[in-house]
């Protein structure tokens, strides 16, 4: 191989792009395999509800009324079994020491008859407040201990007993969850009208060898019954069946269809795969054309010896396909390497049907080869043999130079936007992870307590490092309990987040009062009648300006009248994406679970922890001590380190690819002008003059790319940042730095490559033999 550099760039460029494409393709294959493990796939259906409004518009729901399953099972002989499944919103469950967000679904025992979710140990959840958890959750909560019989606590729903542990099951399934909770718990918590509410997914198993049409008829009949019951509303229900294996990917848009990827999600994945690989294929095209001079002679000789054009084209295309297969091998190794180091919950590495996966991989590789090879092949094969062999041909300047220039511009712009995007995400996550504006995290340490914590609190208070001890039900940054509030006795209730807190906690958090003052200091054992709310609460309840609202009564949880003592500015106390929810803070010692300790100055968490542990042991010798450095805990919660690492990797790869593209383009250009450079040198041009002359064109390209990517990148960045209701704005400084780095490297590449050509001895390029 004469052109080691070119071959290297080709294989390496495609090779580093391919693993990401393979990964995207794997995700696509996974979507098709998401629900292929159920025992009777040809007889198991999900029931979809189409709701027709009075104005004839139809909304399709993946869910159906809760009672439908029962109704179908009891009234229609074609149905062998039917079960409702309800998806809960995210729960925060607490074992003694750990507090973890859990994704629950409610299931009936019949669920386990229809679907295959075997237990590793224990029994199925039947009684209220029982649940089974996944293998992974069991490990996170309980480590190596046996989870069966242990309890987990939810702040609203109380204590749950773990009755069993599920065997690991396929992550892609639309039943994806961390815990399966007994349906009787749901019935306990839910006071909604279950009849017409579309709260449940209904699954039906029909009898073997029965006619599917019987199910359709059954569905039509139940729909007619439902419509009779809801005749006063203007909607009509229509039920239809969907085979369980047809659920993923979703070919139509269904409401409530959670954890099912749609075709547009697949398109995004495929698009990613194509975008990355196309950037790399651009390089192949550019480099092959750059090499055209050295290949021209070969083409000439082959043509003279009788090769036809299509034979030459197929030769070049085959070469490109061969290169892309080499890249596939390299890429597959990199993919396996990545598998070892990247652990992201949203990436699946394994599929069931490896043959299908490899067919997809191989077809994709052939596709890349053809895309990358065809263009140069057409041009190279068009050479006139006579001209080539006389040596009067220069490297092809194919078509419009504009096309090749735009390839470079596209690559640079894509790189820049991608890097901007990731830079912006990085700075937003960093902001979320370190922010002290919304509430203070600095010098705060939390200790979980239960029962009578007062002696412990008093003992800690004497420690010389401790400034103030706040008391709170649960610290900011996680999910909180909720309460309902209303303006007066008769009004409609609305939901607000509720924190039981004392004045010291609010002081620790440095909340910003816009009116009124902090809760009164209290050491009483009963809840006080004063609350601090945020501006959003006033807005939602229509209580006027903060000044007006002070001293006004509101009704908490229906019957308890409390007085607004203070109003704090809206701040983010949980999820940065969402606008602030109404917030109520009240002194209620019965609900205090956490001591929020503020220290006087910066100190080592370790030393403080040791001190605190000593005190803890005095009062609770047999209980586990849970201590957290708040700043660090929230950093870990808000900063998705592994995700960012992965995104960083992608942007690095895209960057490398576009720099390689630039190298290819510069090489092509200098090779094409080698003779001219020689002449100019003999005419007395100095190296710097030649470098200047050669780089000007690229400088223009780089400036054009800059002019496109700065506004575009800003747009991309600001649209990302606007996803977050609480953001730090676009980080211009970071973007400017990233921009400078990218363009400095691009410029350096151009200068280095052209300088190499300019320094070369002109005698070599001017020799005529």
């Amino acid at each position: 191989m004469k052109h080691k550099l070119f071959s290297f760039i080709n294989i390496a460029g495609l090779g580093i792009a391919i693993p990401f494409s393979l990964l995207c393709l794997t995700q696509v294959v996974v979507v098709f395999e998401a629900d292929n493990f159920h025992p009777s796939p040809d007889r198991t259906y999900r029931i979809i509800t189409d709701i027709k409004e009075a104005n004839a518009s139809t909304t399709k729901y993946a869910t159906s009324p809760f009672a439908l399953a029962d109704n179908l099972k009891t009234n229609y002989p074609v149905v062998e079994n039917a079960t409702p499944v309800v998806r809960g919103s995210t729960w925060e469950l607490t074992s003694n020491i750990k507090k973890i967000n859990v994704n629950p679904i409610y299931v009936e025992p019949s669920f386990f008859e229809i679907f295959s979710f075997p237990l590793e140990k224990g029994t199925l959840p039947e009684l209220p407040n029982t649940l089974v958890i996944t293998h992974g959750m069991a490990e996170t909560f309980f480590g190596t201990e046996d989870p069966v019989g242990k309890t987990l606590t939810h702040h609203d729903y109380g204590t749950f007993t773990v009755t069993g542990v599920l065997k690991p099951y396929k992550r892609g399934t639309h039943f994806r969850s961390d815990a399966m909770v007994s349906m009787r718990s749901f019935k306990l918590f839910s006071k909604d009208n279950l009849k017409k509410d579309l709260s449940a997914f209904t699954y039906v198993l029909i009898k073997e060898n029965s006619d599917k049409k019987d199910l359709d008829a059954a569905l039509a009949m139940s729909a007619a019954n439902t419509n009779k019951e809801i005749a006063q509303s203007k909607e009509t229900f229509h039920y239809r069946k969907q085979l369980v294996t047809d659920i993923s990917p979703a070919y139509e848009k269904l409401q409530n269809n959670s954890y099912v990827e749609s075709y547009s999600d697949i398109a995004v994945n495929l698009g990613m795969a194509l975008a990355i690989i196309l950037l790399a294929a651009f390089n192949y095209i550019n480099l092959t054309l750059a090499r055209s001079l050295s290949r021209a002679k070969e083409v000439g000789i082959r043509k003279v010896t009788g090769a036809l054009r299509y034979q030459l084209i197929s030769q070049f295309v085959c070469e490109a396909v061969l290169i892309s297969f080499l890249a596939l091998i390299a890429g597959y190794f990199i993919l396996n390497l990545m598998k070892q180091f990247i652990h992201l919950h949203w990436i699946t590495w394994e599929v069931d049907n490896n043959i299908a996966l490899w067919i997809v991989f191989i077809l994709f590789t052939i596709f890349i080869g053809i895309v990358a090879g065809f263009f140069p092949a057409r041009i190279l094969s068009g050479f006139q043999p006579v001209k080539v062999l006389k040596g009067t041909i220069s490297p092809v300047s194919f078509g419009k130079m504009g096309f090749r220039k735009s390839l470079v511009v596209i690559q640079l712009v894509a790189t820049c936007c991608f890097v901007f995007l990731i830079g912006t995400m990085f700075s937003q996550f960093e902001y979320m992870a370190t922010d002290n504006e919304n509430f203070n995290r600095k010098n705060i340490y939390n200790i979980s307590v239960a029962g009578n914590y007062k002696p412990l609190q008093n003992d800690i208070a004497v420690n010389k490092n401790v400034e103030r001890i706040g008391l709170v039900s649960t610290p900011f940054g996680g999910t909180s309990a909720t309460c309902v509030i209303k303006k007066d006795n008769i009004g409609e209730n609305s939901i607000a987040n509720y924190y039981a807190a004392n004045a010291d906690f609010i002081a620790n958090m440095n909340l910003n009062f816009v009116a009124g003052k902090n809760l009164p200091e209290s050491i009483s054992d009963s809840a006080s009648n004063f609350v601090v709310v945020n501006e959003q609460t006033l807005y939602m309840m229509g209580l006027g300006t903060p000044q007006e609202a002070i001293g006004k009564p509101i009704f908490l949880n229906n019957d308890k009248m409390v007085i607004i003592q203070g109003v704090v500015k809206n701040f983010c106390y949980s999820i940065y994406q969402f606008a602030t929810q109404p917030l109520v803070m009240q002194y209620d010692p019965a609900q205090f679970h956490v001591l929020s300790i503020k220290t006087k100055n910066d100190l080592h968490a370790k030393d403080l922890k040791a001190d605190m542990q000593l005190i803890w042991k005095k009062y609770y010798p047999y209980e586990e001590f849970s201590f957290s450095d708040y700043e660090k805990e929230l950093y870990n919660r808000y900063y998705p380190g592994a995700d960012m690492q992965f995104m960083g990797m992608i942007s690095f790869v895209v960057f490398i690819i576009s720099i390689m593209g630039l190298i290819g383009m510069v090489t092509y250009n200098t090779e094409k002008r080698l003779k001219e450079i020689g002449i100019r040198k003999v005419m007395g041009a100095s190296v710097s003059v030649i470098v200047k002359e050669l780089s000007v064109g690229f400088l223009k390209l780089i400036i054009i790319s800059g002019a496109i990517c700065i506004p575009l990148g800003y747009l991309v960045s600001s649209s990302v940042i606007n996803v977050f209701a609480f953001n730090d704005g676009v980080n211009f400084k970071l973007l400017v730095i990233l921009f400078c780095v990218i363009f400095f490297i691009a410029l350096a590449t151009v200068v280095i490559k052209t300088a190499a050509a300019a320094i070369a001895n002109p005698v070599r390029s001017l020799r005529t033999e």
């Binding site: 003779k675 001219e676 002449i679 100019r680 003999v682 005419m683 007395g684 005698v763 001017l766």
Partner: protein, 220 residues
Amino acid sequence: MIDLKGIYKWVNTGNNRTFLLKDVNLHIKEGEFISIMGPSGSGKSTLLNVIGMLDEFNEGEYNFLHESVHKLKEKQRTSLYKQYIGFVFQAYHLIDELTVYENIETPLIYQNVKTSERKAMVADILDRFNIVGKKNLFPTQLSGGQQQLVGIARALIAKPKLLLADEPTGNLNSKQGEEIMNLFKELNNEGVAIIQVTHSEKNASYGSRIINLLDGMIVN
């Protein structure tokens, strides 16, 4: 003007050292017209490139006018040759993207001559070579003889004391070649020293002295 003493140039291929020039001693006075002859591969072009300072040599001394070339840095060598030496090539080596006018103008740009002066100088030489009408054409639109004429014009534009020509008529037919050689003779009469590499006895006879090379050595 030119004094070569014991010039050696070699390349190493494996363990063998192949000599391109071997103990070349040559003295050339101002205004001489010299033809270098010899079979292919005897080192004619290499010698010309060494004299033109385009190529380095491994051993020996080279004095050009009053400068010791072997002691100069690349930058100084460049400024020396762009002031005193013009090159003519067998394959003309014009820049295809530039017009005749621009091709001729190029060396002046590199010598930082002012635009107005450049205009006058290029106009003079176009006039002298009778190619005013072709100044806006591109090299590919010219015949070989005309291209070589442009090549010579470009070599002479900066008024060099020495013209180096590597087989200037090699790509031309005999009539065109004769015209070029007559032009050389004329230039030589005006005081420009010329060193040409040639295969043709006839062309060599235009010169005042012939140097025969064989395997990198001068044989006379």
